[in-house]
Amino acid sequence: MSEFLYHVPNNLDDLFSTIKKHGSSAALLAGGTDLLIHLKVGKIAPQHVIDIKHVKELYEKITFCSNGMTIGALTTLINITKHPDVQKLYPALSESARKVGSKQIRNRGTLVGNICNASPAADTAPALLIYNAEVTIVGMNSRRTIPFESFIKGPGKTDLKEGEIVESLFFPFPPANSTSNFVKLARREGADLTIVGTATLAASNYETRIALCAVAPIPFRACSAEYVLNQGGYNQQNIDKALEKVVHNANPISDLRATKEYRLAMVEVITRKSLENSLKILTN
C-alpha cells in the first residue's frame, strides 16, 4: 500500500476544508471495504485519506417520516439487514444488503459506499432503482438532491463533483399493495461478486419495476419490460414478452466470473425468478 496521511475531521466544515486543501490527492473513507482494496492493489494512490466516520453531522441511523425513509452516509449494511421496518417496507433493499460480501464486510461497509463506488455489480443498486431512491449531495456551499437513476454515470463514475459528498439517501414509500424482492446469482454465497442481480416490484394495479446489476456498464431499469407488464398485466405470455425485453436491454461482458453468453441466459432466469417471487406474495 502506498504511503498516505490519515485525517479524521469531526464536523462538515473541517471535512470540506480538508478536502479543499488536498483536492484530487485525497480519498474519502467510510467503511473502507472498497477503498482499502483499491489502495492495496494500487488502483489509486492518494496522499491523503479522509475518514468521514467521525463527522458529527453525518449519521448512522435510519429514520422514517410521513413519506419515506432516510439512510445516512454512515449507515452500515448490517444495520440495514437488521432493521425490521426496512425488511417489511423495502424487502429488496434488505435482501440486497444481506447479499453484499460477508458478515465482516457488512459490519463495516456502508450503503452509501456501495453506490459511491459505482461498480456495475453493486448489489444494492437495483433496489435503489426500483424504490426511486434520491441522493442528497452536499458540498462546502451547496446542497442538491438528485434521483439515484442519474447518480451513476459509468463504471466507477458518479455525478459527484470535486468537493462534494453524499449526505443521505431518501426512499419514498413503495406503492400501495405492492411487493418487491432481490435475487442474486453468484458462484459462492459469502463474499462473491454478482453474476446477475435483479430487483423487481409488482403491484396489484400492475405497476411494475425491474432493475438489474452486473449485466451492463451501470445498473439500470428495464423500462420497456416494465411497460409491457404495466399495460398488459401478469399473464404468462406478457411475462415472457417482458423478459425478452429485459434480455434485450442487458449488455454484459465476459469476465472471470461468467461469460457474456451465460450472463445473458441467466438474466432471463433470475429476472423470472424475482418476478415470480413477487407475484407469489402478491396473489396471497
Binding site: 496521511l5 482499502l36 466516520k53
Partner: protein
Amino acid sequence: MENESFELEFILNGESKNIRVKHYWTLAEVLRSQEGLTGTKLCCEEGECGACTVIVDGKSVTSCIVLAPEVQGSNIVTIEGLSQDGEIDPVQEAFIEEGAVQCGYCIPGMVMSAKNLLDENDSPDEEEIKEALGGNICRCAGYYRIICAVQSAAQKYKEKVKVL
C-alpha cells in the same frame, strides 16, 4: 511523510495501549508485527478469506482491510484474548473436541466469527451459522465439523450460564 506517525490509543484484549503507528498500516499489521499477536493470520489480504478476523467494538471485521488509525478508542479482541484465567474459551474447546481443526490456518478467524455470532445469538440454527461464517474460507474444507463445533459451543455457553 515517512516520519509521520499516528498516536493510537485502544484497548487490546482488555489492556490499554498507547502506541505509534504509520498512518497507512492496517490493523492486522499492527497486531502481528507491532503487538506480536500472530494468532491473527494473513492470507488473501483483501477481505475475502476471513483469516484475519478480529472483534472491534463487538463486531467481527477483517483486520487486513481496516486501517490502524480507524480503531482509535476502540475495544479489540483477538484470538489471544479469548482465554480467561488460563482456560480456553468454550468455542475453542468445542473446535478441539469436534475435530474441526486440520492445518489450523483458518481457525483463529473461524473461532472469532463463531464467538461473535454466539455473543449475538445464543441458539443459532445451521443457516445462521453458515451466514455468520460465510466470510471464512477453510481450504482443508472441514466445514461440516466446524458447524458442529459452533453448535456444540452454543450448548457449552448455555451450560456455563446455568452453572453460574
